[in-house]
């Protein structure tokens, strides 16, 4: 067998691996990530099929069912019990999943889109544009997260859309910094330098080299940001800044004023809280698994 043939055979024996297929393979073997996918899957199904799952309209309640006292806990008729207005908590939780999904998507979209634009501009052009954008990011970050959101809500007024936008805005600096850092790092990377030195056109460098490598941290951060958004909006809802109509089945809002009932009707506080924890946990598990799966350090080394 000639050396050339041996070499060809040796090269063939090494399995081809791109960044994505490698990552997917590792993700599949990560038990925590699998649990995460399962949880998120359940969450999404509940959100999408809410009208078919929930036995009642989440907004209408029948005070007569309360029997004078607040509030009946979980029973055979009402799986999660009833709330102060006689509404079925189970139905509210199910529809609440829709709200949480909406919240997550809107907030992250706001933060991601604006952050991507500013971050890319800052990273790609550098110079004084970069400095200005970075200063503005710093200023936004100098107000602690929730307080910034509160401030925005104060200016916009209270309501569901307002708190979604407020939380989205608080996420802008994070994505801006992330993408800028990513682009800067890849721009200066040796392999980009190598590509330029052999004359690869700028456009191609951007699409084939810089962008794919910058995207993975954004995907990881996006997933984690989804989890944070759900929690933050729930927090604002809990503070009473959310939807003005208390009938709205948003999980955070459902927790407002439930501390009074801890002695007599703990299910009012505990159940929405657990719902939040489980959904957020799912996204965090996935985000975490993605981060490990996409980490280039662990990529195949024979």
């Amino acid at each position: 067998m000639s050396v050339a043939q041996v070499e060809a055979r040796e090269v063939q024996l090494e399995a081809p691996s791109g960044l994505w297929s490698d990552a997917w393979r590792r993700l599949k073997h990560n038990p925590a990530a699998i649990v995460g996918f399962a949880l998120v899957g359940i969450f999404l199904s509940i959100a999408i099929f809410a009208p078919w799952i929930a036995p009642e309209d989440p907004r209408s309640g029948d005070l007569s069912r309360l029997g004078g006292a607040c509030c009946p806990g979980p029973s055979a008729d009402y799986w999660f019990g009833l709330d102060q207005q006689g509404r079925d908590v189970f139905s509210r939780i199910v529809y609440g999943a829709r709200y949480s999904l909406l919240i997550g998507i809107v907030s992250v979209s706001v933060g991601l889109s604006v952050g991507l634009v500013f971050g890319s501009i800052a990273g790609y052009f550098g110079g004084w544009i970069d400095s200005i954008i970075m200063r503005m990011t710093d200023i936004m970050l100098s107000v602690p997260g929730l307080l910034l959101a509160i401030g925005i809500v104060a200016a916009l007024g209270q309501g569901l859309w307002q708190i979604m936008v407020a939380v989205g805005v608080t996420q802008i600096p994070i994505f801006t910094r992330l993408l800028r850092g990513s682009i800067l790092a890849t721009r200066e990377a040796d392999y980009v330098l190598a590509a330029r030195s052999v004359g690869v056109p700028r456009r191609l460098i951007l699409s084939a080299h810089i962008l794919p490598n910058s995207i993975s941290p954004v995907i990881v951060q996006g997933t984690l940001a989804l989890a944070t958004a759900i929690i933050d909006v729930a927090a604002l809802g809990f503070l009473g800044l959310g939807p003005q109509d208390p009938a709205t089945p948003e999980w955070g809002t459902m927790l407002t004023d439930t501390t009074r009932y801890l002695q007599t009707a703990p299910h009012l506080a505990l159940i929405p809280g657990v719902a939040i924890v489980i959904s957020v946990l799912g996204f965090n598990l996935i985000g975490d698994g993605l981060r490990e799966a996409l980490d280039p350090r662990f990529r195949g080394r024979g």
């Binding site: 050396v3 041996v6 070499e7 040796e10 024996l13 195949g300 080394r301 024979g302």
Partner: protein, 338 residues
């Protein structure tokens, strides 16, 4: 060999367990070294030379395991010893010098502190005594204003000075054996020579045994009495420096020597790399590991692993079809000829 062997390694085998499979890093390595001797272990990156020394001292990474063989030092087999027992030998009787002095020194501790550590641990010296000794050591390795520099941090030293500091650290407890793993690879060429000279002086002064691990043939030629050539976790050829450099018998050794461009070669001479790629270490060797890249291979080369056998006194080769003794000289002459 007239002197008693200080360290005697016999059929050492080391494996690494990774998620891709088992890596057979060291596959039956045997050698001796006596007090005052300098032995060179030469080979490409990844051939297992560093792993050998780490295995002897018991400081392999988590994934590594010694799966066979022995390493007898002053009558005790290091392979079987517990970590506690090995610690009394590490740094005291056997010391190591590593390749990259920037990453091998703790960035948040002063140089003086790092030298004192070994003294305090092994000799129970107090701070004053240890400081004094550390200053003496730094001075001996050629660092000016040694005592003042004890208070400096590694990042305040230049590359060459850091390596000198590492040598001082290794010498602190007057070890009987020093293992230097690529001590000059990370340094500039001009500094390399200085460091090697320093090492040579020091081991001569103290009659210390020195194992010099490197991929650089030039370093070995200048420093070592004996040379072992390593490939794919095994020795391919062992002998005195003169024997191995003047009359290399293993095709790999010849290939290594040939691949070094010569200043006195005729201008249009092509470069002679060794063809092929380094061996895949995920398989245990079942036949001659160099066979796929070898011009001299014969049928037996693909059937079993050639044993290391004596070909002249003090000179051993692991090959079923060794290169004729005068071949290398002939090749050199051909290249220089007009």
């Amino acid at each position: 060999m007239d002197r008693q062997a200080l360290l005697s390694v016999e059929d050492l085998r080391v494996e690494f367990w990774t998620e891709r499979g088992t890596i057979y890093a060291v596959n039956g390595v045997s050698f001796d070294i006596a007090a005052g001797e300098t032995l060179g272990i030469v080979g490409e990156s990844g051939c297992g030379k560093s792993v050998t020394s780490l295995a002897i001292l018991g400081i392999l990474s988590r994934a590594g395991r010694v799966v066979g063989g022995s390493a007898t030092f002053e009558g005790r087999d290091l392979i079987g010893l517990s970590d506690d027992e090995l610690r009394t030998i590490r740094g005291k009787d056997i010391a190591m010098i590593f390749q990259d002095p920037m990453t091998s020194l703790n960035p948040v501790l002063t140089i003086g502190r790092q030298i004192r550590e070994a003294l305090e641990t092994h000799f129970g010296m107090d701070r004053k005594q240890a400081n004094k000794r550390a200053g003496e050591l730094l001075d001996r390795v050629g660092i000016p204003s040694a005592n003042a520099r004890l208070r400096d941090y590694p990042h305040q030293f230049s590359g060459g000075m850091r390596q000198r500091a590492m040598i001082a650290m290794a010498l602190a407890c007057e070890p009987k054996l020093i293992i230097a793993d690529e001590p000059t690879t990370a340094l500039d060429v001009t500094i390399q020579a200085q460091i090697l000279n320093l090492l040579r002086e020091l081991v001569r002064e103290r009659d210390t045994a020195l194992i010099l691990i490197t991929h650089d043939l030039g370093v070995v030629a200048g420093m070592c009495e004996r040379v072992n050539v390593m490939y794919a976790g095994m020795f391919m050829e062992t002998g005195s420096a003169v024997q191995v450099f003047a009359r290399p018998r293993h095709p790999y050794t010849v290939g290594l020597l040939q691949s070094v461009p010569r200043l006195d070669a005729v201008r249009k001479t092509a470069l002679n790399p060794i063809e092929g790629n380094p061996r895949d270490m995920l398989q245990p060797p079942q036949f001659c590991p160099f066979a796929p890249r070898c011009r001299y291979e014969v049928e037996a080369s693909r059937q079993e692993v050639p044993p290391l056998e004596q070909i002249e006194p003090g000179h051993k080769v692991a090959c079923f079809n060794p290169v004729p003794a005068e071949e290398w000289q002939r090749m050199k002459d051909a290249v220089v000829a007009r």
